[in-house]
């Protein structure tokens, strides 16, 4: 840690940074208001899949960058799971060197354009910003600025290919091409390894492709980032299910020295309430996969999707928001969130909830489904709901929802999307009987190196955490890449 602090200090003391700090009084910086990103009109955007946020203009980006006072102790960085040098990239923006800002982002973040869009900045870097902590003012718009720099670079047509060490000829495998896997692959490639990413689906990107909708993260943005990784020399194999198509042992015979498992949180959870298997009731994973990965809403594609008129989405996370807003875009007359706690406890990003509200999504907070009913064809047509109130905080620190007796009532629904969490994908663990697992089905790893009970196997993301965010998965990927590097080098030098 000391090394990092020293490094950050040295960076901050560079002449251009010192000059920039002097160019404007801190008072003047902190007296400025934070800007908002431009957004599409809620009543237009809720009928199409165009991206909701339009980003910052150059002018707004410069104004927001000037708000950052380039603290001597940049607490924001401690809130970033991948440790982006936040003041440095923001100050690069302030000097007008937007491409330089993107280079800083890519030093530690393989997917800045993605993170600038989907990170819960309000809970991470921006929550640790000097403005938030000491001034009690809106934080520097770190997330928006990250997005600005990454988008500027992409649109400039001058995407920097990160520097890669000379190839060392050592083969490593990355299992899963979601945020954890891509992040690990990027770092391993930079260290000179011969990296192959194995993906079970037909497209690279994992949850970035099948899960997060186009209106929040356009696929094109993910594809551009993946193209950069290809240019770095990373190989991708789709339709390849490690443990099935070939086992880890078979891959070892082919020369792979170590593996990173980022296979994600596969299994959707259901509530196990009566009627939950009726037609028209599906997991958010299924609903979003059909629409995002399979293009089901487009009549030129073969995959069907149920376009409900009366859609209820159960849950309060980002995936629930994605599902309920997707339902609206597919033409739902009524698209409603049913969540057992209140708005305050919602795990979704603040911005997603705000966008959902603007788009005409109804919120039935402090409500919980207890039973579903169906028509003569087995299609859900009604659901029974009970009302809840909040009690004492539980182990998660959030106030526990308690059932209000005799509060049940029914509403009409024709489609229900269940978005109450996921369980880890069991396919990789099932193929490795010696792999140490937790009772929840996640892989046990060393917290620092992400090494599992099988020495050459490292893991991160939802297969370790059970259900988290893109950026935490990416942080794991980075940590694991460093752990794998150390493991392999020690093995070689023995």
């Amino acid at each position: 840690m000391e090394n990092i602090k020293e490094y950050l200090k040295a960076e901050r003391n560079q002449e251009w940074r010192a000059e920039l700090r002097k160019s404007m009084k801190a008072k003047e910086r902190t007296g400025r208001e934070r800007n908002d990103m431009l957004e599409r009109d809620p009543n237009v955007r809720n009928k199409n899949i165009d991206e909701v946020n339009l980003g910052l203009t150059e002018e707004l980006a410069l104004a927001d960058a000037r708000r950052c006072i380039d603290c001597a102790n940049p607490t924001c960085i401690t809130g970033c799971p991948v440790g982006i040098n936040i003041p440095k990239f923001i100050k690069k923006i302030e000097t007008g060197d937007y491409l330089g800002a993107a280079v800083v982002l890519k030093e530690t973040n393989a997917l800045p354009a993605v993170c600038g869009r989907v990170c819960p900045q309000d809970k991470q870097c921006e929550n640790n910003c000097f403005y938030t902590i000491s001034l009690k003012k809106p934080a520097v718009a770190i997330g928006n600025l990250e997005r600005f720099a990454a988008d500027y670079e992409r649109n400039s047509g001058q995407m920097a290919i990160p520097e890669v060490a000379a190839p060392n000829g050592i083969k490593v495998g990355v299992i899963g091409s979601g945020p954890a896997g891509l992040s690990a692959a990027g770092d391993l490639c930079k260290l000179g390894y011969d990296v192959t990413v194995f993906e079970a689906l037909h497209e690279i990107g994992g949850v970035l492709k099948y899960g997060i909708p186009e209106f929040r993260l356009p696929n094109e943005i993910v594809d551009v980032e993946i193209e950069v990784m290809r240019k770095m020399g990373i190989k991708f194999k789709t339709n390849f299910l490690v443990g099935r198509t070939a086992t880890i042992d078979e891959l070892k015979e082919q020369g792979y020295e170590a593996f990173f498992v980022g296979s994600g949180a596969g299994l959707p959870r259901f509530m196990n309430i009566p009627g939950e298997n009726y037609n028209g009731i599906l997991s958010s994973n299924e609903y979003l996969t059909r629409v995002n990965l399979m293009n089901a809403a487009n009549p030129d594609f073969d995959t069907p999707v149920l376009k409900g008129k009366n859609v209820a989405v159960i849950g309060g996370g980002n995936t629930a928001m994605d599902s309920v807003r997707t339902a609206k875009r597919l033409g739902a007359e009524r698209s409603v969130i049913v969540y057992r706690r209140s708005l305050v406890e919602m795990p979704a990003r603040v911005e997603e909830v705000k966008h959902a509200q603007e788009e005409g999504i109804e919120f039935m907070n402090l409500h919980n489904p207890v039973e579903y009913f169906a028509d003569e064809n087995g299609r859900v047509n009604r659901m029974r709901i009970q009302k809840m109130e909040l009690g004492e905080p539980d182990t998660s620190g959030r106030r526990r929802p308690i059932v209000i007796p005799n509060s049940e009532f029914e509403i009409d629904v024709d489609t229900v999307v269940v978005s109450v969490g996921v369980s880890p994908n069991p396919l990789i663990p099932a193929s490795l009987p010696n792999l140490k697992m937790t009772d929840w089905g996640t892989i046990v790893v060393d917290q620092d190196t992400m090494q599992s009970s099988i020495p050459e196997l490292f893991a991160g993301g939802d297969i370790v955490r059970g259900g988290a965010t893109v950026i935490l998965a990416m942080g794991d990927g980075r940590k694991a890449a460093a752990g794998m590097h150390k493991y392999i080098q020690e093995k070689i030098n023995k």
């Binding site: 037909h202 070939a246 996969t289 399979m294 069907p304």
Partner: protein, 275 residues
């Protein structure tokens, strides 16, 4: 990209496709399935593997025309490619030497039953196979089944081949005359339901291989869920084979029809465009 190296029609709406997939050919076992996607705009559908040739690096699939994707698949020819094939998926059939195994297959379910029959025979079991179809022309893989079965009983709805009657009549005949230690059934849901009811009467452990709607096939979407013994299971990762006496076939049949209207609409559109 997986090339079709051989195609043979068994009947007007049923064909065998031999597809290049060397890694799957090597790793697949009886009971496994694959998910395929024909082209960029295609949907993902599960198909149970009917056989493989490790040397040639191919797997065999048997497809029945029921909708847009299967129709498109049957319209492909030798030399054409299927864009995506992933597998092997699902749990392999648990094969051991337990004595006498009764295998009951209906329609195209006979194809995935073939490697299971072969597996049980090679494990030292006596294998009696009952094959059922609406009519003579729809009976498939009879010769191959004979090769690995001690006896094959044919049942047709119209009596055009073998005996007239349903699969259950053939099964019951075997159960009444000899001790059957287990039964394996693959076919349309309604057939498996009645096969299971038949063996339940005689307390014969029975496994059914279910073919439900799937999207990813790796446990992610839950489209394939079925109730087994009152608990929700995912066919793709918990199955495809389950204790047939515990499967809620009524619910399964209802769920198979979950996209019926959309599928029918799409098929009509496809046929119109094909004209």
């Amino acid at each position: 990209m997986n090339k079709i190296v051989e195609k043979e029609f068994f009947s007007e709406n049923v064909a065998k496709l031999v597809i290049e997939a060397p890694e799957i050919a090597k790793s697949r076992k009886p009971g496994h399935f694959v998910i395929i996607r024909i082209d960029e705009r295609g949907e993902r559908i599960p198909l149970t593997i009917a056989g493989s040739d490790i040397e040639k690096g191919t797997i065999t699939l048997v497809v029945q025309k029921v909708g847009v994707t299967s129709a498109k698949l049957l319209a492909l020819n030798e030399g054409d490619v299927i864009r995506d094939v992933v597998g092997p998926l699902g749990k392999a059939t648990h094969i051991e030497n337990i004595g006498t195994v009764l295998c009951a297959g209906g329609g195209v379910g006979v194809a995935p039953l073939l490697p299971i029959v072969e597996g049980f025979k090679k494990a030292g079991n006596r294998v009696v196979t009952v094959l059922a179809a609406r009519t003579k022309d729809l009976i498939i893989l009879e010769d191959q089944m004979r090769e690995f079965s001690d006896e094959v009983i044919l049942m047709t709805d119209d009596g055009s081949s073998g005996r007239k009657g349903l699969v259950t009549a053939g099964m019951e005949e075997v159960i009444k005359r000899e001790k059957v230690d287990m039964c394996m059934t693959i076919g349309p849901a309604i057939m498996m339901k009645f096969a299971a009811l038949t063996t339940k009467k005689y307390n014969i452990p029975t496994e059914a291989s279910l073919n439900t709607i799937m999207v990813d096939g790796t446990g992610m979407c839950g489209a394939c869920r079925v109730s087994v013994g009152g608990k929700t299971k995912f066919v793709c990762v918990d199955g495809p084979e389950f204790d047939a006496h515990e499967v809620n076939f009524e619910e399964m049949m209802s769920r198979l029809g979950g996209y019926k209207e959309l599928e029918a609409e799409a098929y009509e559109k496809y046929l119109k465009n094909a004209e």
